[in-house]
Each structure stands twice: as structure tokens, then as C-alpha cells.
Symmetry: C2
């Protein structure tokens, strides 16, 4: 089977929490051409369970992320099934033995891709949705001199306690299924995946989204139950449970200051971000509420708070679900890139 | 074993959806003395999984609900383990065969208690938290000439679509456990109960509650994980799963207009409520957001919108968890009772 993406071989990748992934693979895809001066680079990390395909909605001719102008790199997150993951790693680090990976580990690996593979020294923009925003913040804090611009949207620089609790619910629902077998499943724990999907459904979109019946009136599902089955269960069922749990752990432990540079000083890590940033929460996002973004912006030297005026909850940010929100985000990225 | 409550025998109770509970029991407790004129009555229904004990935090000397002045009746909801429930009903309607009960059924049964048992013709106030608020709205719509005052807090007259989805997540988590056995469990499905508890944890309190670490700083838990285990799992584990699922169904299908009087016309049912009402949502309640209360108030002829200024989410309303909120609600009830 031919694939449409490339692999950067990281060799033995020693992780922040101590384990080493042997022969670690970073899957990525690029769009557009790297200029001779290597000054047209955009890095655009993936989100929870997403793969590079799921990021493409923001890229295109006439868009801010226009491949005619920019060289756009989408690195796949470790654990997402394309980069090294529980589902594709050989024994003994396969399945539930796949090690704990942090956003720090991911961004360190992405930095190697950008520098080792392409010889890139400077990045114009790092941008990402949700866990992609978490990685975007990490880029800014870990390599503050490397980029001009940052645009994290519908995400945070540190997993909040409430967000952590929401994810505990998703995890508990998935792992309540006996077929999960502590990760050593032989058959898909479908009941657990469906339960996780239903838990997620209340969080993904806002109260107002459901009140206005946008699942039916805009997205075209035939009923609320049809939306829960076709959209939500359909979204979770094809995904590998151990991959989901690996990325969930990454998300829960995301924190730009949890490393040897900032030693847990979150404000110091925010202050260190030099890039001009548009921090763009969804106005009705239930797990990345605008209040958390405001705190980040207040502590970043060169950031602007730009709420996405939308009742689409977390999905104001992606993945291209609502065209109106896509246009809003695209216009803000154009503004940022023009500055 | 002696009990501290009474049983009103409802005989054969035919339910709105068609089934009949034979020898149906309504458990209740009263506080204070019924006056000779029978004009000092307060009805105070229970909430999801709560029993009359769990309502007592709002009752006491010097409180609005003062037993020295009022005759307070707490009827236990059908399915709550004291009134007829899956856990205490004999074959063949036991366990998962316990029929679907609506809030309409509950309030019809409570009306029989109030009139048949006590000969009460007029009620001063109906008040309730959460599903207790749902029943309070039902009292107002089903018996509009019977009471002076209504005070539903942190609840709604109709289960919103988003609230329905949140409950789908709780249900899916509980029933993902193979030990649940479609309701024919022999051993407690502890894993499912714990999962349901963790799902609920993110909804019960607000983002700000967790951000401010009130679980530790105010409630005194030793860590977030301690709060999830000791408070949340501890809350769910003792409860009967079929009882929980019965009440969850009642909640999801709550709607004051879903009956032969209003035939689904929600605005007409709201307009029919004659009582002076304080509708009091929690300002940060994630599943009964103030917007839904505003809609209700706008369509009720004699209602006032009174948001509880609290970051305690749904628990701004109860069950007595935050003394500041208790005082606020108590003061508003005093104001209402004085009018």
C-alpha cells in the first residue's frame, strides 16, 4: 500500500519520563515548496486522535495556509497511529506497554525533523487546534527564538484540572468495558469506545449548539440519536484504544513548564514566549474555556486574545466542521501572517 | 429496622407510558406541624439519586424552611430506593423490568399524597433542586391553582438536548461494564459505577471550581484524585444501578408539556404556571445553564430570574455543599415566602 506521507527516523528516542522508543518513527507530510532562503515555513501539529489528513481543512489556495506561498509541515503526534504508537510498535513496547509521551517529547522530536531533515533554522508560524495548540505553545516556550508567530486555537499551554477531569471520564468509560482487558484486547472493546464517544459528545459541542439543533439543522443528522451514533460513535470506533489512551495521557500531562527549563514555573514559561501570538479560544468551548486563554495572554509578552465568536463549542476550531468558523480563523491567520 | 419516614400506599399506579406498578409505595417524611387551616404547607421533592435525608440541609430553625412555621413534606422520587424502585419492587416488575416513570407520574403521585393523606387543598410553596426543580415546575404546570409560590433552583422544566447528551455519557459509562449484565447483575458493577462517577465529576462542578482548587481548599480533599475517589466514586458506589438508570430515564424525559394537558406545547405549559416563582439557576451550572432558565422565566407570567452567583456549578444548589450558596438560596426563599 502506498502512503502519502513520509517518515523521519528518530532512532532511539529517550523520553522525558525515562523510557526509550527504539527505532522511533515520526510521520509527517509537507505541502508547498521550501524556499531557497528557507523562510516560508509553517509547522502545524495534529490534535487528539487526528492524523495529518485531519488538518488539511485549513490549507489551500487563497487560504492563509496557502501552499503556493508557504512550506507547511504537519508532524503526526506520537501515539496517533502513523508516528510511533501502541498500535505499530513491536514488542516489548507495544500495546499498553507503549511508554508515556509528553507534549515536550513530541515537540523535541518535531524540532529534530525540522532541523535535521530540512535544515530549517527559522519558522514563520506554528499553528494548531486543541492538542495541536498545546504543541504550538510548547514550540513557543521551548524554542522562543525560532519563530515569528504563534497561533494556538481552542487549546491551552497546560491541561487545566477541569480538563483533566473531563478526560478521566472519557478514559473511565472506555476502560469500563471488560473487552478492553487492561489494554491486551484481542477483540475491539466496542462498548467502551461507544461509551467514550457518548461521554465526549456532551463536551465537544456547546449547550447552545444542541439547543439550536445544529446537529440536525446544519450538520444534517436525522436526529440527536443519529448524531450520537453516526458522528460520535463512528468517530471513535475505528480508533485504536491504546493509541487513544496514550494521547489522552499526553493531553492530561501537557504543561509547557514541566521540564528542566522552567521547572514547573508556568508563568515563567509563558513570559519566555517571544513570538507574536494570537491565542484564539472558542467562545463556548467547554474544556478550553476563554478564561484560561486570558490568563495565558496576560502572561505572554506579545500575545493577543482573540475569541472565536461561535456556539460550536470546541468544534469552533476544527476540524473544518463549521465553514463560518473556518473563515474566521483563516482571516485571523492572514492578519497575523501579514504583520 | 425502624425507619424515620412514612409510606403512602398508592395501590395500583398506572403510569403515563402504560405500565402499572402494583401496590406502589410513596415514601415521604414531614417536618413541623400542619396548621388547623392547613395553610402552611411546603412540598420539597428529591433530586437524582437523593433521598429525603439529602434534602434536609435547607430545613431548620431560622431558615426559610423553618419547621416551627411550616409543614414541610418531602416526597421521595419513584426509583430512589425508598419509594417504589427497581431495587425494592417484587417480581415481575423488579430490577431492569421496573417501568419507565415520568416526572408527571411522580407529581401525580405526590398530589395524591398531599390531598388523600393530609386533605391539603392549598400549598404555600413548592421548592426543589435539580430533578427536584423539574418536579417543582411540574407542580406549577399540572396544578396551577394549588400553590402561591414556586422556587425551582438549578433545574429546568424540560430536559434540554445537551443535558440529555450529558446523561447519555453517564449511562453509557455505567452500562459499559460487563458486570452490569443488562441490569441482571448479581455482583455490583463497580467499574461501571466508578466510571459513571468520573464522567459526572466534570459536569457537577464548574471549570472555575476546579481552577480555584475548591475541592482541596474548601472541601478539604487531599488531592484531585482523592476528590474523584472519595467524593465521586464514594457517592455512586452505594447506589443501585437500576435505580440510577430509572431516575436517569425520568430526568431525560422530563417535560412539563409532555402530557394530555399541553400536548407538547412547552410555551403553553410555562404560560399556565400561575404561581409567583423565583427561578434560580446556578450561574456556572454546566447542565442547567442560566440561558434555559431565562427562556422559562420569559414565558412564565409571574416569574423572576435569580441567578445564584457561584462558581460551584450545579452544586451551587445543593445539597448544602457550599454554605455561602445555601445562605443565598435561603435568603431568596425568605424573600419569596414574605411576599
Amino acid at each position: 500500500m502506498s502512503v502519502d506521507y513520509q517518515i523521519h527516523d528518530l532512532g532511539n528516542l529517550t523520553l522525558q519520563r525515562g523510557a526509550t522508543i527504539r527505532d522511533c518513527k515520526l510521520a509527517y507530510k509537507t505541502y508547498g515548496q521550501l524556499s531557497a532562503a528557507k523562510d516560508n515555513v509553517i509547522v502545524y501539529p495534529t490534535w487528539y486522535s487526528g492524523q495529518h489528513y485531519d488538518n488539511e481543512w485549513l490549507i489551500g489556495p487563497g487560504r492563509a495556509l496557502d501552499p503556493a506561498k508557504y512550506f507547511i509541515i504537519i508532524p503526526n503526534m506520537l501515539g496517533n497511529g502513523l508516528s510511533s504508537s501502541p498500535s505499530n510498535t513491536p514488542e516489548p513496547y507495544n500495546g499498553p506497554r507503549f511508554p508515556q509521551v509528553t507534549a515536550y517529547d513530541n515537540v523535541r522530536a518535531q524540532h529534530r525533523l525540522v532541523t535535521e531533515k530540512f535544515g530549517i533554522k527559522h519558522i514563520r508560524l506554528v499553528v494548531g487546534w486543541s492538542m495541536g495548540a498545546l504543541q504550538t505553545f510548547h514550540w513557543g516556550a521551548l524554542y522562543p527564538d525560532m519563530m515569528d508567530l504563534l497561533a494556538p486555537f481552542c487549546g491551552s499551554a497546560k491541561c487545566s484540572r477541569h480538563n483533566y477531569v473531563f478526560l478521566e471520564g472519557v478514559k473511565a468509560a472506555l476502560t469500563a468495558d471488560a473487552a478492553w482487558k487492561e489494554g491486551w484486547y484481542t477483540d475491539k472493546p466496542a462498548r467502551g469506545l461507544r461509551a467514550a464517544a457518548r461521554v465526549y459528545a456532551g463536551w465537544g459541542f456547546s449547550q447552545a449548539f444542541y439547543r439550536e439543533q445544529l446537529d440536525i439543522k446544519t450538520l444534517g443528522y436525522s436526529s440527536l440519536e443519529d448524531f450520537l451514533v453516526a458522528f460520535w460513535e463512528g468517530f471513535f470506533l475505528p480508533k485504536d484504544p491504546n493509541n487513544l489512551l496514550t494521547m489522552l495521557w499526553t493531553w492530561q500531562h501537557g504543561d509547557i513548564s514541566d521540564n528542566e527549563i522552567y521547572n514547573g514555573d508556568f508563568k515563567a514559561a509563558l513570559r519566555a514566549i517571544k513570538a507574536k501570538a494570537y491565542v484564539m479560544p472558542g467562545q463556548t468551548d467547554l474544556y478550553f474555556p476563554p478564561e484560561d486563554s486570558k490568563f495565558e495572554v496576560e502572561n505572554m509578552p506579545n500575545a493577543k486574545f482573540v475569541a472565536v465568536p461561535s456556539i460550536w463549542g470546541h468544534f469552533a476550531g476544527g476540524p473544518g466542521t463549521n465553514p463560518v468558523d473556518v473563515d474566521f480563523i483563516d482571516s485571523k491567520l492572514k492578519e497575523l501572517l501579514a504583520s
